[in-house]
């Protein structure tokens, strides 16, 4: 049984770990949807002058034929800065198989050749299927979650974060 810490606590920890390094980056890019909320808040609280982007990896998924585009609305990616030679911090809520991050990096490269891409996540739930590693992690689960359990970030009207688990869905690309 995994006891999840409060999302707000984790967020504070992630911000703390990032703060000394924030000037190593030119831009923050969040992955839809939890990663975008995290990136927005990190940028606001740590580096309001830095560029902020968002990525929806729906068009880069490797399981379209199995799962389709799904019912949820696909959003446009928004990269309002030159990617060429930029130092980019990619932000997501949960790191799992690594496939989402793979898709996000692929997509970034279609905008240009960044100088460096690093990864920050709130929770690492382990069980990677690709050689991907986050440099900034607020919390690593001590034990794996069941495969049919999905972990994701939610944001309430006040802008506060909570973590929730969802069942009865096939494994996502996380």
């Amino acid at each position: 049984m995994n006891l999840l810490p409060e999302a707000e606590t984790l967020y504070a920890r992630l911000r703390e770990r990032l703060a000394p390094d924030i000037d190593r980056f030119d831009a923050l890019v969040g992955i839809h949807s939890g990663g975008v909320w995290l990136a927005e808040r990190l940028q606001r609280e740590l580096a309001p002058a830095k560029a902020l982007g968002s990525i929806d990896i729906s068009f880069y998924r490797d399981d379209l034929a199995q799962r389709g585009l799904g019912r949820s609305r696909v959003r446009a990616s928004h990269i309002p800065f030159p990617v060429q030679d930029a130092r980019i911090l990619l932000v997501d809520d949960v790191l799992y198989t690594g496939r989402t991050v793979r898709a996000a990096i692929n997509e970034l490269f279609d905008y240009g050749r960044p100088a460096r891409v690093e990864l920050a996540v709130l929770v690492d739930r382990g069980e990677r299927e690709l050689p991907i590693c986050a440099r900034y992690v607020a919390h690593t689960l001590p034990q794996p979650l069941p495969a049919d359990e999905r972990l994701e970030l939610a944001r309430n009207e006040a802008g506060l974060f909570t973590l929730r688990t969802l069942r009865d869905e096939p494994p996502t690309t996380r």
Binding site: D56, F59, L64, Q66, L69, A76, E107, D110
Partner: protein
């Protein structure tokens, strides 16, 4: 009778027509087109969504323009595109339409984009694929006879929504050769599904089908009257061959009565937009001053068309293997 473009779960299996397409699916496609529009504005205008898929552009009737837009859309989705121009005469003499389809299925096609001179031809192909148990192969109708041109209809709806938002408050006029126009039929079907405020159809009696009122359209034979206070003017292309067969006396008279000039457009609302599916017959159905003028959204239509076709192909490919 369930519509052959939907599977047993009501999901879109093929895109055959907008006539019979549920409103929520139509809106889903329009919504999906938005992020694809963003893709077409990127430096690398390509996403890997359909990587490894084979899209066959099967044009039994030549149309470089439509074929190209499908080709661009498929390539921007990273699909492999194979273009086949099969002239109708060669198939009637030798191989039948369904023989051609069987052959291409054996080459492991994933999607057929079909243009055919006969109304209903894509339905025949879809039915054949079902009978053959090849339901994982999708059919996109790229125009059949006088019946349907669903991606054109969708891009037109995308365009109207982009500029005008709420369909229920709009008065839309379709002008020209509705009788022979698959574009008009798809537009009428989509506008009706989306609950357009008022639909007008304007043209001479020789170019309008019987019983347009059944579609909820108001029929006008006078362009000036019909254009009064409209929000959207959708022009149709006039084919040259209409001058034969006693449908119209001359291009000149058509232009004089039904051609869109700045002076006639002035009767529409001041912010009315003008659309045309292309290619334009300048000086016949539309004056250059209108086509190139500030109300014209003809070129944005083309851009939106790519995004809409990307959305359609992605939606279909994404529903193939879902059990």
């Amino acid at each position: 009778m369930s519509h052959p473009q939907l599977d047993e779960h009501g999901r879109l299996q093929h895109l055959l027509s907008l006539d019979g397409l549920p409103r929520e699916v139509l809106l889903q496609i329009l919504d999906m087109a938005e992020p694809f529009l963003e893709v077409t504005e990127r430096e690398v205008k390509k996403v890997p969504l359909l990587r490894g898929k084979s899209v066959f552009n099967l044009f039994f009737e030549n149309s470089t323009r439509t074929r190209t837009t499908f080709e661009i859309a498929a390539k921007r989705l990273s699909a492999d595109v194979i273009n086949l121009n099969v002239s109708t005469s060669s198939t009637t003499k030798g191989e039948s339409l369904l023989d051609t389809i069987d052959n291409l299925c054996a080459m492991n096609a994933d999607m057929f984009v079909v243009r055919h001179a006969s109304s209903g031809a894509p339905f025949l192909i879809a039915r054949h694929l079902r009978e053959r148990g090849l339901e994982h192969i999708h059919v996109v109708n790229a125009g059949d006879g006088r019946y349907a041109h669903p991606t054109q209809g969708l891009l037109d709806m995308y365009t109207i929504r982009h500029y005008k938002k709420d369909f229920s408050r709009l008065t839309v006029a379709i002008v020209g050769d509705v009788l022979h126009s698959r574009v008009a039929r798809s537009e009428i079907a989509a506008l009706t599904t989306l609950g357009v405020g008022e639909l007008r159809v304007i043209g001479p009696k020789t170019l309008l089908p019987v019983g347009l009122e059944q579609f909820g359209a108001r029929v006008f034979h006078d362009l000036r009257q019909g254009l009064r206070d409209v929000d959207v003017v959708m022009m149709l292309r006039l084919q040259n061959e209409r001058m034969k067969g006693a449908l119209l006396p001359s291009k000149e008279e058509y232009h004089q009565r039904f051609g869109l000039t700045p002076e006639k457009l002035a009767l529409a609302k001041p912010d009315a937009i003008v659309m045309h599916p292309g290619p334009l017959n300048r000086g016949i159905e539309i004056d250059s001053a209108v086509a190139d003028g500030p109300r014209s959204v003809i070129l944005p239509q083309v851009t939106f068309g790519i995004a809409v076709r990307m959305a359609v192909m992605s939606l279909l490919a994404g529903q193939g293997a879902q059990a």
